[in-house]
């Protein structure tokens, strides 16, 4: 593979080409990517190893996937992990009861069945007109299953909050996310194999809520810790990009300056039980700017002891009380 044809991520939404996949995000994602993170993404794309992102909540772990998918024009399949999620759910689900139900309906109203045109059911979803004699009509492919079927470009699969799942979940995933990149649907006997040239790009986020992930899983992953943009310049760049991509007028520069300073001061001072993240800051800034008819007065923001709209920043009782005491 030469460098020219190799997929790379530059953190520049304008690189998106015209023939994006239909499952690719429609809206550009305002995302300021650090050089280290950019390298991590490119390495993950090159080696096709899962990229594990850890970091505080609201620091842009999840958003990275849509930024990458938008820029590459690749489909994004998002898999939100819950505590009851099994590794197989990401591959496919099989609705045996629906099939049984259809057999009964078919018996009562035989004329109603319409022969479905797509016998292969390439869509991966359960079609409207089903034929109970075709088992393929009752399987629904999960995010990974859909990503494995792509034949013209790699898909981005976001496995969000993997730490919430059962203990075995990460290890079960490993067997699929490794050579030969295939799995079998037991009910239909199909084997779905990813095209070796277009293996999916996996981005995994974790909040470390339930302790560490298992070592064999970690071993396979690339690891990057997403830090809070603890720097005024960086934060301003993020603000700028947000308003640029949303095509709305940014708040007055002075308000931004003071808001950034006050926020960073709060963040660096410590003593908070839960530090607010980037997303909370952006919400707060938007509120300062747009919630009232007039933008919040910058001087007042600087001089006031108690922060305005602090309900957006403090999410724990203790923090809330401390913030009211005025530092």
């Amino acid at each position: 593979m030469t460098t020219s044809q190799r997929l790379t991520f530059e953190g520049n939404p304008d690189r998106r080409t015209g023939n994006a996949h239909k499952d690719s995000p429609e809206q550009p994602e305002p995302y300021v990517v650090s050089p280290e993170l950019k390298k991590a993404v490119n390495l993950a794309i090159y080696l096709r190893r899962p990229l594990l992102l850890e970091g505080d909540a609201g620091c842009g772990k999840t958003r990275l996937a849509s930024a990458v998918a938008y820029e590459l024009g690749s489909p994004l399949y998002r898999w939100d992990v819950r505590s009851s999620t099994k590794a197989q759910d990401g591959l496919y689900e099989y609705d045996a009861l629906l099939r049984l139900h259809d057999v009964e309906v078919h018996r009562i109203q035989p004329d109603q069945t319409s022969q479905s045109k797509n016998d292969e059911n390439e869509d991966g979803r359960i079609p409207e007109h089903r034929n109970p004699s075709n088992p393929k009509h009752y399987r629904r492919l999960g995010p990974l299953g859909q990503a494995f079927r792509l034949r013209d470009r790699p898909a981005i699969v976001l496995i969000d909050e993997i730490d919430k799942a059962d203990l075995d979940f990460p290890n079960d995933l490993l067997t699929v996310l490794d050579d030969p990149w295939e799995f079998t649907i037991r009910e239909t006997g199909e084997t779905i194999k990813a095209d070796p040239a277009y293996k999916p790009i996996i981005i995994i986020t974790s909040n470390k809520e339930k302790g560490n992930l298992p070592a064999p899983f970690l071993r396979r992953c690339l690891y990057h810790y997403v830090d809070f943009p603890n720097d005024a310049e960086l934060l301003k760049k993020i603000i700028e990009q947000h308003y640029q991509i949303r095509k709305t007028t940014p708040p007055p520069a002075k308000l931004v300056d003071i808001a950034v300073n006050r926020f960073l001061k709060l963040w660096r001072e410590g003593g908070l039980f839960k530090k607010p993240g980037t997303s909370e800051f952006l919400d707060w800034l938007l509120t300062l700017h747009k919630f009232e008819l007039e933008p919040y007065d910058a001087e007042q923001l600087e001089s006031k002891q108690v922060l305005p709209y602090r309900e957006l920043l403090f999410k724990l009782q203790q923090d809330w009380k401390n913030s009211a005491k005025a530092s």
């Binding site: 090159y46 080696l47 009861l97 070592a215 810790y225």
Partner: protein, 362 residues
């Protein structure tokens, strides 16, 4: 030395990290080589970043990486001066800016005598001719802080084997096979067949030695209790925890501070033949004592306990080597005793779930 042998650096780093306890396999090594081929390690800095991404899986590991990496370049140059470079490995690569060369070559402007006698770097430099340092066991780790033979996660794993599934929960598990079987038998479909949810009926009694010589191990016992109660498949009500000091004679305590006593007979009264009893105590091995009273008291207690259940195991936070000569050695001959590490805990759980392999001390 004008070029930078990234392959060599990767191999050295790989061996060094592995010997420092990083969980890396050949697959990870090959991934690093592949990354270099892909141009992700063109200069030392880029290579270090790449390796960090690939091989370090927590911020802690990343901070661990840097000092090891820093010590590496000098090592390479020492090696290079000693013998000519491998002819086949030579690749023409662009020369590096001055600062890399400085980093790679020891500064020759300073005469050898003026160097400080012992520097950590220089100490590292002698390492390539030594065999890589391998951790041979917990005996090697001298400080109590490093004594961490079993992780919380492996406790969670081990607890899962303690199960006695009984289908007595609510009937809400869809049995597809039974549904289809019923439909074919009846000829028509009425409703899906549900089976009852399985519950783990295992009953665990944890008896924990507290205070005194057990003080350094309190974080283990606390983890053990927490994982058993919250992160295992056991039903929390079926996990009973009692504390004692040295020997559970007469009464045990319901709290770790030994303030709420409960008579031993009452506790044992709750046991039946299916109750799994796990005792955690150093049995005198921590201080190496061999006290007749302790052994006698423990034997009396065990005799009493064995009238209720035979699913009894003893976890000793001290390693088996330290039992010799202490009361632990005597007790270990009358009851399955295991040191508290991964294998020990899973063996102990094997015993208390009633499926022991043949274990015997001595």
């Amino acid at each position: 030395m004008s070029d930078f042998d990234s392959q060599d650096a990767v191999l050295r780093m790989f061996l060094r990290l592995r010997s420092n306890g990083f969980q890396l396999g050949i697959g990870e090594y090959r991934a690093a080589l592949e990354a270099i081929e892909g141009g992700f390690g063109k200069d030392p800095e880029a290579l270090a970043e790449t390796l960090k991404l690939l091989w370090c899986h927590s911020p802690a590991e990343q901070t661990y990486f840097d000092p090891i990496w820093e010590s590496l370049p000098k090592q390479v140059s020492v090696q290079k001066r000693r013998k000519p470079p491998f002819p086949g490995n030579k690749k023409t690569q662009p020369a590096y800016p001055e600062r890399f060369q400085e980093m790679w070559e020891p500064d020759r402007s300073i005469p050898q005598e003026s160097l400080p006698p012992k520097q950590p770097d220089l100490e590292m430099a002698s390492l390539p001719i030594q065999a890589p340092y391998l951790m041979t066991g917990e005996e090697e780790q001298s400080t109590p802080l490093a004594y961490y033979p079993i992780s919380r996660r492996s406790m969670v794993y081990s607890w899962r084997y303690l199960r006695r599934p009984v289908a007595d929960g609510p009937a809400d598990v869809l049995d597809i096979e039974a549904t289809i079987r019923q439909v074919t038998r009846q000829g028509y479909y009425i409703a899906p067949v549900y089976t009852r949810r399985q519950r783990n009926n295992a009953h665990l009694l944890l008896l924990l030695d507290q205070n005194g010589s057990m003080t350094p191990f309190h974080h283990f016992t606390r983890d053990l209790v927490e994982t058993a109660k919250q992160e295992s498949s056991l039903i929390p009500e079926n996990v009973e925890v009692f504390y004692f000091q040295n020997v559970p004679a007469g009464s045990v305590y319901q709290d770790p501070y030994l303030t709420e006593p409960l008579s031993l007979n009452e506790v044992l009264g709750r046991c039946d033949g299916g109750t799994s009893v796990l005792i955690v105590s150093d049995a005198g091995a921590a201080r190496g004592y061999r006290m007749r009273e302790r052994v006698r008291g423990t034997a009396r207690f065990l005799y009493q306990l064995k009238r209720y259940t035979s699913l009894i195991a003893w976890l000793n936070p001290m390693s088996a080597k330290r039992w010799v000569g202490s009361s632990a050695e005597i007790i270990a001959n009358s009851i399955p005793m295991f040191q508290m590490d991964n294998a020990g805990l899973s063996n102990a759980i094997d015993v208390v779930r009633g499926q022991p392999l043949k274990y015997s001390y001595s």
